[in-house]
Amino acid sequence: MDAAAPRPKDNQGEPLPRVDGRLKVTGQAHYPADLPTGNIAYGALATSSIAKGKVTKLHLDDARAVPGLLDIVTYGDMDKVEKPKFGNSGATSVGPLHDRIIFHDGQIIALAVAETFEAAEEAAQLIRAEYEEEKPTATFDSPGTATIPAAGKSPLFKEDVKAGDFDAAYAGAAVKIDQRYSTPTQHHNPIELFSTTAFWQGDQLVVHEPSQNVTGWKVELARQLKMDPGKVRIVSPFIGGAFGSKGPMTPRTAIVAVAAKRLGRPVRCVTSRMQAFGTQTYRAETRHRIQIGAGKDGRIAAFAHEGWEVTSRPDSYVVGGTSATGRMYDYGSILTHVSLVQADRNTPGYMRSPPETPYVYALENAMDEMAVALGMDPVEFRRINEPKTEPIGKKPFSSRSLIQCYDQAAEAFGWAKRDPKVGAMRDRDWLVGMGCATAIYPTAVAPCAARVRLTVDGDVRLQCGSHEIGTGVRTVAAQMASERLGVGIDKISVEMGDSSLPPAPVSGGSISTASVCSAVLKACDAVRAKLYAGATAEGGPLAGSHNDELDLADGKIVAKSGASAKVEDVIKTMQVGAIEEYAEFAPKGATPEALKKLYAGTPEFHGGEQDEDSVKYAFGAEFVEVRINRYTREIRVPRLVGAFAAGRIMNTRTARSQLMGGMIWGIGQALHEATEIDRRYARYVNRDLQDYLVPVNADIKDLQVILVPEIDHAVNPAGVKGLGELGNVGTAAAVASAVYHATGKRIRDLPIRIEQLLA
């Protein structure tokens, strides 16, 4: 087995290659903007060059003179359409063409539609706006910000968690730190650009757009266009980089749909990379203050975490990562508070582990500082503060293998060889540093529906309106069906990414594998039950056997007695051509409305810290080695080791791939990624991949992922904990810790760059 296909350990599935891998690497996978559509017209957006004010006049004559121009959709043209709503299915409440107010840089002011992409682009560039400009507020510390408490502003962030008497415990602590940390603005830059293709078939609207939430979008788009959701179809068979960027629908979708209706032909609009910075969501900048107080023995007695997050004026987007940081260790007492800071910016949104990435970075950097203050090994410091129960509600963890992760990762990394003295490790002109940090991600699950059909020929067709965002969900769903139906993976076809399929929840929050596999499991078990009934019925081939004595394998029903019957023969006996089952899975604790909400595109999430019986999280431990040139101070990362435990691993190949990608992103967050804002104008400056740096191959050398076996039956029927968002949590703190170890400089503001290490 090679590194990409780790040998499965206990409770881990085979590293089967992705069922759609060949399509992807041979260019045969059709992403939404590739789907063949005849007689297409092309749209290009014109966007504002100011962040605050009003459009007083639009000059369209030059654009209209472009040969091939067909239409310009702008102010007035969306009046019969409802404004967008902010929420899980909507990126913002700003209806950019509903009124002339500019809320942020790069706001849509028009859509030019032409016979060719080039003509549309040219026309869009020729649209000139006159503005009544106001002085905008860019970010933290800019004049004009408004700071409000975050709790209650979002259904996802209800309260500031606390426990015990922090003030007293902190005052009495023998060793303490009180530090501030920050994380920068980060923008989604998926290789697949953002696009919408819309066309009408009579009164039915079809939209091809990369989406992590086809059901939610169907309902929301129908609401905006005042249509029956049954007449709207969202198609998104493959998504080339999602990570939350394609979770909420943006206002562009309805604008393109209106353009297609006006023209009576399909319209495709591919947003340029520069325009995506203003028209899509992003990870907003955050600030943190962390106080930790401990006894000389290293036991934490007091923990406080205060967070500040930038959001837009109209929408209160909250991440509120104190929910996770407050439950990480056995703190004794806990005090947290999260504030939103409103500025003249586009509304932020989900980006891979939205709360945990910034908040756990701050916590874990502080934990390393605290270990230094205590003179204690950072791994040992975490071991000492490992909780028996979750420290706020005192509920048990459904499972928690953090220490196993630390032990296995430390062993593989060679942590024992680290000289703890700062600056002690060197390799010629390179300072060597080693650091570690914890990764955590809540384990959630949502209702999901799936349809499974087993034909007399032994073919299986599996349908579920989930989304292949690169995680391999088609593959693991097929593996689940293969296991339950005793059918080879090559006999299974999986259909996903279409709102006309059985509804699945948004592919966000790392819930897809658990939710989809639980629904597929339920549907497959219903198929099994019918098969068994057929087999054991009077006159059936296994008449007299009980269901619990039967199993399915290699196309046969096998009884404990050794007797068996071919599935094909059983289906024939039943006098049907296929057995098809539609299953709706609802997690334990689901409300009576849960399934209704699934169809409405607003699924309930269960798990994490919300359940009555236990709290549910996946954990990991990451170790990094950095090298810093003693003259020029550039930082390189030759080695990374991460060990993760996430319940049942459906497929070790796809799981490793997710965790590896997360760790690489974590390196980017530590060292490369940041959107720069020109504070004078509240405008983004580095709006493309030339200046918005992410790691390249040369930045990643030796990266090892260890999958730590873990069994957890409490999380969901599939026993799966989501891990798609686990890998990039903590990485940046591990890097900061290693940089400190190498140089003695504690960098608290990300990204860590040369200039911070020169002084």
Partner: protein
């Protein structure tokens, strides 16, 4: 993207005549109606962004003269045809052996794909990547003369600390040019009015009050070759490039260094700096400081201080003065320690 006429002349003289016919004599090459294109890795990008708006593109890739595609090594030095691709030059065994600084500067630039497309002449004429230049909604004196400079008080982390003016602080981002600068290369150019040779140091112009004038070339002049003189001791040379990530990024600071050593003593030093200045930058004062002295960390530091004596830092690029010095010190010491 604006429509444009695309032509493929096969003779240098025809190409120059075409450029001359469609362009006013005093037009700057970067603002001319007719512009030359070779690899297209910079111009095509800027045309899509609306930064460059030529009406006519004259594609040089069909020019018949085989010398344009050749690397010729002679007793006098090495001659690169203008259409040689970056990747070819970086992999050329004589370039690697005789001028490591050239091979390094090319190998550390861009990506493999871009190096396989981009021509050497196009590479040295590449335009700045200043964010405020690249995006047409910002004020930029280089793009629209007289419109102002949004970078001056804006986000200017990658901007120049050397050779800037009140009108422009955009960095020249190329790498290869620093090597050519250090080695006193000569550029051969041919225009409608004949051929001429330009010392590399005279090719680029500092921004001054006219940042839109970037080179000494007229709009109808085509670079045909780049000649690097024979410098036997250039085997002791290297290009050190410091950047935020390991590959595929512009230099925050770079140094092209070639040393003629006599034991530890410096007979002659050649130094050019990149990522720090508005044009390819020869650090003549640093070279003078080192001449005749032993090269160690102390003398290298004095040389580096001399190189940056006139540096003008701004809000976000202030670190580049210190980084530039350290880059030069490290490059000098690493060049000294090369096994040649």
């Amino acid at each position: 993207m604006r429509p444009f006429v695309y032509e493929q002349p096969t003779e240098i003289s025809t190409a120059a005549a075409m450029a001359s016919r469609f362009t006013r004599r005093d037009d700057q090459p970067t603002r001319a109606n007719a512009q030359f294109i070779a690899g297209g890795t910079n111009l095509a990008d800027y045309m899509k962004l609306g930064v460059a708006q030529p009406d006519r593109l004259l594609d040089l890739n069909r020019l018949a003269d085989p010398g344009l595609r050749q690397i010729r090594v002679t007793d006098d030095g090495i001659r690169f045809g203008a259409l040689v691709r970056m990747g070819e030059a970086a992999d050329h065994p004589d370039v690697k052996r005789r001028y490591p600084v050239i091979a390094d500067s090319l190998k550390l630039a861009a990506s493999g794909q871009i190096r396989n497309m981009a021509s050497l002449a196009g590479n040295i004429l590449q335009r700045t990547r200043c964010e405020y230049f690249r995006e047409t909604s910002w004020a930029c004196n280089k793009r629209v003369p007289g419109s102002g400079c949004a970078a001056m008080e804006g986000f200017n982390r990658q901007h120049a600390v050397l050779g800037a003016s009140d009108a422009c602080i955009a960095t020249y981002h190329g790498d290869f040019a620093q090597a050519l600068m250090a080695l006193d290369a000569i550029v051969h150019a041919e225009g409608a009015r004949g051929a001429r040779n330009i010392p590399f140091a005279k090719l680029h112009r500092q921004p001054g009050d006219t940042p839109h004038i970037e080179t000494d070339l007229a709009a109808d002049e085509i670079i045909t070759a780049i000649e690097v003189p024979a410098i036997p001791w250039a085997r002791r040379s290297l290009y050190l490039k410091i950047r935020d990530r390991e590959s595929y990024a512009f230099a925050l600071a770079s140094a092209a260094v070639a040393l003629d050593l006599d034991g530890d003593g410096v007979r002659e030093a050649r130094i050019a700096l990149g990522g720090l200045a508005t044009v390819p930058w020869r650090a003549g004062k640093a070279e003078e400081v080192l001449q005749g002295k032993p090269l160690d960390e102390h003398s290298a530091t004095i040389a580096a201080d001399a190189a940056f004596a006139d540096a003008v830092p701004r809000q976000h690029n202030a670190f580049k003065t210190e980084l530039g010095k350290r880059t030069l010190v490290r490059a000098l010491l690493e060049t000294r320690d090369m096994k040649v």
